[in-house]
Symmetry: C2
Subunit: 110 residues, 2 copies
């Protein structure tokens, strides 16, 4: 009964890591280069690059190289995948509450 969407898996896996969420928090302020992003972080540049690759594969980040500088920017569409997943959970749950409400109203009417 594992959750079946690879896209949903990738986004939740990417955001399950606090360093990757911190990267996305920074990128939501605007695009920056990989080296500027890595500057204040207490991990190696290679580790930062790996985190960025995970974020890029999940569709949360886009990177582009101009000369020797690679710039990262947030892709808000990636967040939409999680928003839809949450919305689906909520709507199923609320529909169930509505049905319970209907049953209670019927019981009252008897």
């Amino acid at each position: 009964m594992l959750s079946q969407s690879p896209a949903v898996d990738r986004v939740f896996h990417a955001l399950g890591d606090p360093t990757r969420r911190a990267i996305l928090e920074k990128l939501s302020e605007g695009p920056i280069s990989v080296s500027t992003l890595a500057g204040p972080m207490e991990i190696t540049l290679a580790a930062v690059v790996q985190h960025i690759q995970v974020l890029e594969k999940s569709g949360l980040v886009h990177t582009e190289k101009a000369g020797r500088v690679r710039t990262c920017r947030m892709e808000p569409q990636g967040l939409g995948i999680i928003e839809r997943w949450i919305g689906d959970r909520r709507s199923l749950w609320e529909r169930r509450l509505d049905r319970l409400g209907d049953i209670l109203a019927e019981e009252d009417g008897k």
Copy 2:
């Protein structure tokens, strides 16, 4: 520059695991007992219980024991934590786009 909210950390960590997302998908259809939940899963009951505990600590699930049966239900408030985090990322990003739009409009006006 790690992301600082322990509540956000707990919810994203909880949902970073596909088994835990599958449990929440099942619970969004309605409350069920731990043993009914574990039935179709290809992991031990002890592993299922551990996953449920992680979900409970993150505020995504509530469990209650009546006699010998422990029932789990989804807590939609837990999902709100992630929705707010995503909303904050989006609004920062959109505000930046608005500022860029203003700058371009000013340039056009010159």
